[in-house]
Symmetry: C2
Subunit: 169 residues, 2 copies
Amino acid sequence: MLVEQGYAAMTMKGIAERAGVGRQTVYRWWSTKAEILLEASTSDAAHELDVEPQARPADDLLAFLEALTAFLTTSPAGLAYRALLGEAQHDTAVRDLVRAADLVGTATSAVLARVRPHAPAMPTSPLAAAQLAGPVVAVILETGNPLTPAQLADHAGLLLGAWTAGPPR
Amino acid sequence: MLVEQGYAAMTMKGIAERAGVGRQTVYRWWSTKAEILLEASTSDAAHELDVEPQARPADDLLAFLEALTAFLTTSPAGLAYRALLGEAQHDTAVRDLVRAADLVGTATSAVLARVRPHAPAMPTSPLAAAQLAGPVVAVILETGNPLTPAQLADHAGLLLGAWTAGPPR
DNA sequence: GCCATTCCGAGGCACAGTGTCTTGATAAGC
DNA sequence: GCTTATCAAGACACTGTGCCTCGGAATGGC
């Protein structure tokens, strides 16, 4: 329903009708639209963001950034994630839900764990993960348009360089 | 109303009542809650993100990142901006509004223009702006909690190093 | 195989918010 | 001083929410 008709048209009543189920039955399992969205998208999201390891660290980072971009801009699960993130700005309960699931953070950390042996100057995980995925996520949330593949490649290269070389002082 | 009672309690009816104005009069000037939020927060946001230039580029970047963090986590205008960004994930009209205003992007570009002379390897503006502000914005949107001052300093230092040194190849 | 109990779809209900419309009082313009 | 435009107040139809009630169906015990 989210993909077909947009967030506003995704109502609890509509979900129940479409499922051929009473409204009370929906409320029995999920008390919130956010819970439904999260449960509906979690496994797809994890799968789509779990990219095949690449031989070269730069390719590994780039493949992840491209998967993340595709997820956020074209995947139904990504649409659900963005809707959740939107709700999270209005509602602290949803924010806690999103934070606990940490879909993007988990996937980012997995890539960083593979790259870290090649990048001695990489910061600890929360910062490194934010540096890698943050620009991609923020631009899409703020404009709806992704960074270009060339920009993703530049970004991956720049980070890997900085993480490899260490501080220039 | 947003600050005092949260986004859900900020209704058009309530706004009109609190303004001592008929509902029709509110609709005459703004057709959407998003337009009200944007207009109410734009000038404060621009002011709060317009940091005093610092002598050293690293300090300039850091001061901006700290201002951005304070804006997003503690300022009423920042709360409005996050609410707008949330709405933008549900509603393409709001997304266009946010993109056109580009509050964070404009402020980020202003800082980058000052730093660019000292950073020959800095990418062109959209990417560099995303690299600088994206991690800060994304982490706050996803978790509600900001990066620590130490992480901000690390981030500014790492970017400046990478932008100064150029690609390591 | 029968009955009792639980489950659950259907839909009614009160409530709240939206956006439009009508009304009557106030203020401005001539 | 009279006409005209403005606008606060609130009625309105509509939609969604979350709760509740009611029957019919499926289940389990005997």
